[in-house]
């Protein structure tokens, strides 16, 4: 249960000329690492708005009325654009519906794929350096505190040595990656030469091979020469023969002669071997060389440090927990803005101390607490304040309408309602922030006794090693090209080398969508958001793209948010499904729950309005259209179109009823007092059929 993204009580509205349109009304969901969450609903149900809020590209007239989107210790709704910039595309990527409009028509495909890699290369390095230094300093501080007074010199020496080892390892790593990258590039260039020569296109084999010889020296380093001494000499010889053959043949024809190609292939296979071998652990190697006992010593001390840091944070957490009930009662009563902000500041300083900074997976609730709370308080006051302009407009329009009605005219238009926020809702926003922290900390305190500090310390050292290695990862245009071509192969584009230099209009719809996916994956994101990626494509291509997304998800351990209006598409993709209607999640469950045991009338309607291959009954179309969200209905938004609607549906919004651990739905039909309702025949028949087919398959 590793949650990578949490959306809590999100509310988004849009200012329009006709009033405020409530697009998303209080939705919450979690995305787990390596899982797919599908959001299903009609157009206008707010599914795209939700995903756009996650990636921070809401339209200019949007108002985020409340809620949090927590990712990696940050609240995505409250961080600055600069910070969002580091996350968008890098950590969270998005694939849009129309592949043509998301590609630049006048830039070659290759450039579009490599653009982000090249741009991010430098910032990524400096970022890694910063994180590395911070983490090491934090660890050092805790180690000193744990070992007690007088241990400073020892710990300082230890940390210094680790740093030295890391620096040395980085140097080795840089050499290593340099030669691997040079090898990779060389393989690519040779491929290109052989490809061009095969097509009898204009190329100069002699100059190219000479160039390769020069570049072979870049590939070689001490390490490689030790491991591949004989092969490298052979490769050199092969290149020399290739050059000879090419020189001899030059007068006769431009085409690269057969045996030259053969020789190049030999060199290539060696280079490929070099490029593909497992990357060694340089830190371990260096430390072994320097002092075989150092790592153990350091780990011992580090474990102490981690333990100390954790216990200190735990004690503070207990303090916070003791304070929280008082805070809650404070926010339940009357308070002024200044008072509230003061309380917020006070508690936040304790909470900041209660965060264990040596934690690798950050507890988002604690990190985002201060910004969330102070934001909720601000909203509490600013939304209640009278908007004079709005009042005037409302009065004017009401007067006009009443005058017309008084004259006996039939008035079709409605007065745009005033933007009213209920105090309860605003207070609720504040309280949920407090409650969530309470919940988290209670759980953390309970789980504290089972903490394995050695594992934790090992984790932090690995983390340091990784960041150290990242500081030397740089990307040149040539490397980016090789990476892009690999990526294009991965997403199933044939002849990527030719395709790399083509323009978007030279690709078919399915191929364009693949390119878009390749661009989204270029930065190796954690989360991929797919906004109706297959709606513009036809059946066969759709199946291919879905298979591709599934394959990539498994290979890269991606978490996917998949947005669609077609439940049929989802069956293959989703682990969890959220059905949305009129800005709310009406049913949430695993794919099995939704397809084999749907509970909400809207889910029934969606399922029964699409025919499958065996359907012969009349389709159960949903009558009418979705409600106008400027005037959201008082009760259940689906009541108007729902043939099972009861009186209470029009009066009160149903809460989420829990059906099982994973499955819940918001409908009054699940209330114990509700009458028993039969599923539509078309669905019961289908489920029976599916179960039968499943049984036959299993047997």
């Amino acid at each position: 249960m590793d949650k990578i993204l949490e959306v809590k009580n999100l509310r988004v509205a849009f200012r329009t000329t006709n009033g405020t349109l409530k697009a998303v009304r209080n939705i919450s969901f979690d995305l787990e690492r390596g899982k797919t969450l599908a959001i299903v609903g009609e157009s206008g149900s707010g599914k795209s708005v939700t995903s756009k809020a996650v990636i921070g590209i809401l339209a200019g007239n949007s108002i985020v009325e409340g809620g949090e989107i927590l990712y990696d210790g940050k609240d995505l709704l409250r961080i600055s654009e600069d910070e969002m910039h580091k996350i968008r595309g890098d950590k969270i990527s998005m694939i849009f519906q129309d592949p043509l409009s998301s590609l630049n028509p006048i830039v070659k495909i290759g450039k579009q794929i490599t653009e982000a890699m090249l741009l991010k290369s430098k910032t990524n390095r400096s970022e890694a350096k910063k994180v590395y230094k911070q983490t090491l300093a934090e660890l050092k501080r805790n180690m000193i505190a744990a070992e007690g007074a007088g241990s400073e010199a020892k710990v300082n020496a230890l940390c210094k040595q680790l740093d030295e080892i890391c620096v040395e390892a980085t140097k080795l790593e840089k050499d290593y990656t340099d030669s691997v990258n040079a090898a990779n590039e060389l393989v690519g260039d040779m491929d290109e030469l052989i490809f061009l020569a095969g097509k009898k296109q204009n190329c100069d084999p002699v100059a190219s091979v000479k160039d390769y010889q020069k570049r072979m020296t870049q590939v070689k380093n001490d390490r490689l020469t030790a491991a591949y001494a004989q092969e490298l000499t052979e490769a050199d010889a092969a290149l020399a023969t290739a050059l000879e053959v090419a020189v001899q043949a030059k007068g006769a024809e431009l085409k690269l002669p057969e045996n030259a190609v053969e020789n190049l292939r030999k060199v290539q296979s060696l280079l490929k071997e070099i490029a593909e071998q497992q990357k060694p652990d340089f830190v371990e190697e260096v430390s072994q060389q320097k002092d075989p006992y150092f790592m153990n010593e350091f780990m011992e001390s580090a474990t102490k440090g981690v333990e100390y840091s954790f216990n200190r944070a735990l004690a503070k957490k207990k303090d916070v927990l003791a304070e929280l009930p008082a805070l809650r009662t404070f926010f339940e009563g009357d308070f002024t803005r200044a008072e509230a902000q003061k309380r917020c500041k006070e508690i936040s300083s304790t909470i900041r101390e209660s965060i264990d900074r040596l934690e690798i997976i950050k507890d988002s609730a604690a990190y985002a607490f201060e910004s969330s709370l102070s934001d909720a308080i601000d909203r509490f006051f600013s939304y209640q304040a009278n908007n004079v302009k709005e009042e005037k407009r409302f009065a004017r329009q009401t007067k006009k309408r009443e005058a017309l009605v008084a004259r006996g005219k039939h008035v079709e238009w409605k007065v745009v309602p005033k933007n009213v926020y209920s105090v309860d809702m605003l207070r609720g926003n504040i309280l949920t922030v407090v409650d969530r922290l309470n919940e988290r900390y209670t759980a953390a305190v309970e789980a504290a006794s089972q903490m394995d500090f050695q594992q934790r310390a090992a984790g932090i050292v690995t983390y340091l090693k990784q960041r150290g290695a990242e500081t030397v990862h740089y990307i040149t245009p040539g490397m980016a090209r090789e990476k892009a071509i690999k990526l294009m192969e991965e997403v199933g584009i044939h002849e990527p080398r030719t395709r790399f230099y083509q323009y978007p209009f030279e690709f078919s719809g399915g191929m364009r969508q693949r390119i878009v996916i390749a661009i989204a994956l270029a930065a190796n994101p954690d989360i991929l958001i797919c906004d109706e990626p297959t709606t513009a494509l036809d059946v066969t291509i759709q199946a291919q793209i879905l298979e591709l997304i599934n394959k990539l998800k498994a290979e890269r351990n991606l978490s996917v948010i998949f947005i669609t209006h077609d439940l049929g598409v989802v069956a293959n993709m989703a682990d969890d499904i959220a059905v949305m209607y009129a800005g709310k999640i009406v049913e949430y469950g695993t794919a099995d729950d939704i397809f084999y045991d749907p509970r909400h009338p809207y889910t029934w309607a969606l399922l029964s309005s699409m025919p499958d291959l065996e359907t012969t009954e009349k389709l159960d179309a949903i009558p009418g259209t979705p409600p106008n969200m400027i005037y959201p209905p008082v009760g259940d938004a689906f009541a108007d179109r729902n043939k099972y609607a009861m009186k209470i549906d029009f009066e009160q919004q149903p809460p989420m009823f829990k059906i099982s651990e994973t499955h819940s739905a918001a409908t009054w039909l699940l209330h114990p007092d509700a009458p028993k309702v039969e599923l539509p025949a078309i669905i019961t028949n289908r489920i029976a059929r599916m179960k039968k087919a499943g049984g036959e398959q299993d047997a």
Binding site: Q544, G568, L606, I622
Partner: protein, 402 residues
């Protein structure tokens, strides 16, 4: 419900755009009262076929018969035949030396050329004047009725009325085109409605063009149709932008149905709509079909919907019709490898089945060996046509257990 009367017959239809063969040698017929589905991936020529039938394009070769009358005809095949004959003539002159044989062959080939020229002339005539011919028959019918009525009538007042009616009917008859008996619904309901016209104007446009001037009659018809497609009278005065996607598609349907067509070509009418609205439109088309006795040519790429809605289905691949059968037969026993691959790609609302589903991929070059014998459309089983050669036909028959 359906009889065996053929409403539309498409013979060897070819539609070339310069060197691109968008549709090549496609033959099928649509029986009266049935729904004929046309499926295939985008770019396979299914929309082009639909548009050729309604004469949006001038077809390159082949002919289309509607209600027994040829409405479209292309000349490319005849031109090719003439060119072939000329080439053979030229070749023969080089190889043959006996003047008697040459004279005989020349006479034969000249006959062929003359025949094809005649065909070209006939085709051009039919293609251009089919509507005029149809109008002629209508005019004759109206005139005959009038003359009979005049003969039976003595009252001068009534005679005057009859004369006015005759004049109106004659105008309508003159302006009526056979092609208006085929109507089309387009994919994008937003793009296919003129934003500057009210719904009333949009729906009534066909009637107005047809020469009807009686405003009261037009209004009555418009209201009737609006109610038939599930809208209300009040909607007539509004503009298209005031409607939702589903309602716009209803307006598109109303516009085509008001002409009382015999054949309705629905070109992906639901692809641009929401799921819940899709079902509404399918149900509506189903109702209209029963009520008005419509024959529908349904073009779509969503196979589950086509299966649900159609009686017979034609599968197209790169401009060719590769398989044609009744919908149950096609889904139960797909024969052509492309059909199999298409069916294997359908997503199902069943997670367990989806996990087991294996997609079959189709590669034209790997799947067939046409080096010895080229493929033609063959009837493997009564009513089940497949594009194949003899060897494949044998194999398919074995598959079916025949």
């Amino acid at each position: 419900m359906h009889n065996q009367e053929t409403l539309l017959r498409v013979e060897h239809l070819g539609q070339y755009f310069k060197s691109l063969k968008a549709v090549d040698d496609v033959t099928f017929d649509i029986k009266k009262g049935e729904v004929f589905g046309l499926v295939g991936e985008s770019g396979c020529g299914k929309t082009t076929t639909g548009r050729s039938v309604i004469k949006i394009y001038d077809i390159t070769s082949g002919s289309i018969y509607f209600k027994g009358q040829r409405i479209c005809a292309g000349t490319r095949s005849y031109e090719d035949a003439i060119r072939n004959a000329r080439r053979r003539l030229a070749q023969m002159k080089k190889t043959e030396s006996d003047p008697a044989v040459i004279a005989q062959k020349r006479a034969e080939l000249n006959l062929v050329i003359a025949e094809n020229r005649r065909q070209i002339k006939a085709a051009r005539f039919d293609h251009q004047h089919s509507d005029r011919e149809y109008a002629k028959t209508l005019i004759a019918k109206v005139t005959e009725e009038y003359q009979q009525a005049v003969a039976a009538c003595n009252d001068p007042e009534q005679l005057k009325e009859l004369k006015i009616k005759y004049k109106n009917d004659l105008r309508v008859a003159k302006k009526t085109k056979l092609i208006t008996k085929i109507q089309m619904i387009f994919q994008d309901p937003i793009a296919s409605l003129n934003p500057r016209m009210t719904v009333r104007e949009i729906i009534a446009e066909g009637l107005v063009i047809n020469g009807i001037k009686d405003q009261a009659y037009i209004d009555e018809q418009v209201y009737k149709i609006l109610e038939l497609v599930g809208l209300t009278r009040e909607h007539a005065g509004r503009y298209p932008h005031e409607f939702s996607g589903g309602q716009r598609q209803r307006i598109g349907i109303a516009r085509s149905v008001i002409m009382r067509p015999d054949l309705l070509i629905a070109d992906e009418p639901i692809s641009a709509l929401d799921v819940s609205i899709q079902a509404q439109i399918i149900n509506l088309l189903n109702e209209l079909r029963d009520e008005l006795g419509l024959t529908i040519m349904f073009i779509a790429h969503d196979l589950s919907v086509v299966k649900y809605f159609s009686d017979r289905i034609g599968v197209m691949y790169f401009g060719k019709m590769v398989e044609l059968a009744s919908s149950d037969e096609l889904f139960a026993h797909p024969l052509h490898p492309y059909t199999k691959s298409l069916l294997s790609a359908i997503p199902l609302p069943d997670p367990h089945a989806e996990k087991r589903r294996t997609r079959v991929s189709y590669n034209k070059l790997e799947a067939h060996d046409y080096s010895v014998e080229g493929p033609t459309m063959r009837e493997v089983k009564p009513g089940h046509f497949v594009y194949c050669n003899t060897a494949e036909e044998e194999q398919y028959k074995k598959e079916l257990g025949l």
